[in-house]
């Protein structure tokens, strides 16, 4: 049989109307430099668009970025859209300007990791690696 060449594949995108994509692009580049294949879907996506793209691309994890304050609505909406589309097993990670008091609620809503400003990039990469490994093992 051919050599197994499994690569970590992730989607990075921004749900909602927030157009500030510097953070998302920074993370996309950091993940690429760590050996990930990153499907970048850009700004102003609906949760349904992100879920459909994640499924077509068969990614191991989805990373969301939000700087507008709409994370409490949009992050769980992506988790739900994935579930509705038949992919509840694809883990969702999120980052951005997120107050500490929101983190517990987001985790409860199914977001596996939350990154606030100042999180070291290695920690973020590590969380994506963990999420991909868990998904592949499942």
């Amino acid at each position: 049989m051919t050599e197994k060449t499994k690569k970590n594949r992730v989607l990075v995108g921004k749900p909602g109307l927030d157009g500030h994509d510097r953070g998302a692009k920074f993370i996309a580049h950091a993940l690429r430099d760590a050996g990930f294949e990153v499907v970048y879907t850009g700004i102003r996506r609906s949760p349904e668009e992100i879920a459909a793209a994640a499924i077509q691309e068969d990614v191991d994890a989805v990373g969301l970025s939000s700087l507008s304050g709409a994370h409490m609505r949009l992050f769980p909406a992506v988790v739900e859209a994935l579930s509705k589309a038949g992919a509840p097993d694809i883990p969702v990670l999120g980052g951005g300007v997120i107050p500490d008091e929101d983190i517990a609620a987001l985790k409860k809503a199914g977001i596996v990791a939350i990154f606030t400003p100042g999180t070291p990039v290695d920690k973020i990469i590590g969380a994506f690696q963990d999420a991909c490994a868990k998904k592949s093992a499942a």
Partner: protein, 302 residues
């Protein structure tokens, strides 16, 4: 997902199953054989495979998006394989072609798959070919392979296509003469995108002049403004009349045969490469010594 439910899903054209099947083949999983032997060869034979190539920034993804919109109006189901380079250092990749096609993201009849080159020599050709077949078997009557037209692996990919479009735009460096010779030669249709921009007419004239040289019927140049959907209908008309010409003349069959043989060769090498590498390492060949002679010795002994 079990292999049985995956095969069921493929029959039902389930997006999750299609995505999974392409990954399994791409990753060299054992189940690839079962997946690929389940495909509908008639659908694969009937589909039209379009190659879209050109330099970065020419508007390939935007043109692809325009073509999708037009074909969807005609009720066709479409597959897109968008190829981006992997970093040779980290092995990672940013796959961003989808951004221009997101308006079709929730349309189940537009199957988009991004693929990284992963530094494979022939391997990319083999896996992209398999993705084309999976998409065709799942009802996509047109399949677009989009790739930057530089580098050998990209040129190999384009050989999978029945018809190849080379997309150029004014202002990207007008030195057509110096352009990689192969690109102009493999293109069936030349497209000047961003035709509303300054320099588009001159670029089109230059292209016509270059292709006219030594040819009785020079390649016609199509003009498009992909962001506004202009020129797409005319372009698709040209594609479909060229396709019928190719079907009548046997050219299409000839190309499919060439691509098929190349894909079989690529798969042979893909399957052999890890075995050979293991054998080479196992032997712990002494240094120094000529690598070619050692290679022949290993092959002779097998």
């Amino acid at each position: 997902m079990s292999i049985d439910s995956l095969l069921e899903g493929l029959k039902a054209r389930d997006p999750r199953a299609i995505g999974r099947a392409i990954s399994l083949v791409e990753n060299g999983d054992e189940s690839a054989d079962v997946i690929l032997s389940s495909l509908d060869e008639n659908l694969v034979a009937g589909a039209i495979i379009l190659g879209i190539t050109g330099p970065p920034g020419a508007g390939k993804s935007t043109l692809t998006n325009g073509i999708i919109s037009q074909l969807r109006q005609d009720g066709k189901r479409i597959g897109i394989i968008a190829i981006d380079p992997s970093s040779p250092i980290s092995g990672g990749a940013i796959l961003g072609d989808r951004i221009r096609m997101m308006q079709h993201a929730t349309d189940r009849d537009v199957v988009v798959r991004s693929m990284a080159t992963r530094g494979r020599l022939g391997g990319l050709c083999a896996t992209a070919g398999a993705a084309v077949r999976i998409m065709a078997s799942c009802g996509c009557s047109t399949i677009i392979i989009e790739t930057v037209g530089v580098g050998q692996s990209e040129m190999d990919i384009i050989r999978l296509a029945d018809i190849t479009l080379l997309v150029l735009a004014p202002g990207l460096g007008d030195d057509i003469q110096a352009m990689k010779a192969g690109l102009l030669e493999v293109a069936d249709i030349l497209v000047v995108n961003k035709a509303d921009c300054k320099g588009a007419d001159i670029l089109a004239m230059d292209l016509e002049a270059v292709t006219r040289r030594g040819s009785a019927n020079p390649t016609q140049v199509s003009m498009t403004v992909a962001t506004e959907g202009k020129g797409i209908t005319e372009l698709l008309d040209r594609i479909s009349s060229l396709d019928s010409e190719h079907r009548d003349s046997g050219e299409r069959h000839k190309r499919r045969r060439g691509a098929h043989d190349q894909e079989v060769l690529d798969w042979c090498l893909e399957i052999l490469r890890p075995k050979l590498l293991a054998e080479i390492r196992r032997r712990e060949l002494p240094l120094p010594g000529d690598p070619r002679l050692k290679a022949k010795k290993i092959l002779d002994e097998h």
